[in-house]
Amino acid sequence: MEQPVTAARRGAAVRIAAVRKEYVSAAGTVLALSDIDLTIAAGEFVCIVGPSGCGKSTLLRILAGLDRQTAGTIAVEAAGWEVENAMVFQESGLFPWMNVETNVRFGLDTRGIPRAEANGRVDEALKLVGLSKFRKHYPHQLSGGMRQRSAIARAFVTNPGMLLMDEPFAALDAQNRVILQAELVRLWEQTGKTVIYITHSIEEALLLGNRTVIMTAQPGRIKTIIDVPFPHPRDLIQLSASPEFGKLKLDIWRVLEEEVNRARAETEQ
């Protein structure tokens, strides 16, 4: 799977091996993730799809360092990048008490980047997402789409090896979602960062990524991994309307349907 990016610009590589996550609660131990093995190449755009409760967000939180696996290893190779990863959260997570500019600069301030350099990079990142004019606005003065753009700028500005995105566009209306998806793909094509993108929509996964990891719930396991054959640069609107896209989507649904039926048959025996 070749991407149109040079080797020097490629993002972090990740090797996830036998990762398992258990939660201990009053009701007992809940197995959230089981036997997760996944190798992600530098510069790949991987989408993880699954029903709610399949542990996909937990996996992302572990990758982000916000949670720890119970067993298994995660190795990230991010040499040459300033930080290993930066996360874009579902509801943007912009700090309401900081304006756009300060929010975007946050990850640079925490890492002690000198103010002049930080401001230059913030300018660039805001230009990249088209928010230069809104730099002094507070999050409550922005639309949902603009908030997610700010969150993307905040992640990009830190120069991470990989972007971790947790259903970043789920709360947006359909039109804004399409626009932001196209912008994200364009940014990825330009920068060649590794992207791990959580979604519950198979269609979105196929549209954006190079590979789609399909997970099932209880416990969260990887059911199957699909190579998405569409070349980059992609025109998402054209792609989504193409017969090849429709056929791939249908094939995947057939596979899932079979597995759902088999699982049901097993439980009913």
Binding site: L66, M87, F95, M98, F106, H140, R154, T158
Partner: protein
Amino acid sequence: MSGLSTKTRERLLYLISPIGLLALWQVLLMMGFGDRRFIPAPTDIAYRYWEMVMSGELAEHTTVTLYRVFTGFFVGSIPGIVVGLLMAMFRPVRIFVDPLIAALFPIPKIALMPLLLLVFGFGDASKIAVVAIAVFFPVIINTYSGAANIEKIYWDVARNFGASQSVMFRRIVFFGALPMIFAGLRIALAVSFIVLVAAEFVATKSGIGYLIWNSWELLQVDVMFVGIVTVGLLGLIATVCLQEIERKVIPWKAE
């Protein structure tokens, strides 16, 4: 009143009850109900108020009271904010401080006055101390609950973007708690006037509280009322100022 907007009508309604009460008070006294030597009419109070403003006597007491209130307010609220935030950030701090708050908060702070006179003497320090102690509790409780209720996602974002404990404290927890901190400060402001006026009843020769108590002992009831009205006005002005500051300091609070 059909020509008036709803807002104007509500404002008028807002003024009717206090003005009506004052008018009733005045009329009853003028009709001979009650002894005007013991219960002065609103006009008597207003006259005495004007007199005391012109002589500078009122300004003198007001200055002393304001100095004590604001010094005590700052001395008490700043540690209240700091410790409240630390309680939210560090569990051991919370476990350590919680029982102290539970035990000390219900004690009427004015009951500490003899002790404070013993420790700080009869000067301003003992009055400032009693205000500071009284202010500390509402501020710490509100600050803690504000900081403890910061949405989890902000902690996650801060951690993911490499925030140290000190950045967490200054840029996340403090600002996240700020709306609640101001709610605490508003209560604390009222409390500081309440406690100080009571503290000034004893062992001092200055301040609005002294003015009220002293005029009672001399049976100058109109002067006493001047003192009471002054406390009310000072509290009102201070609260309005605090609300203005809040508006400036919390620009992200949606209108």
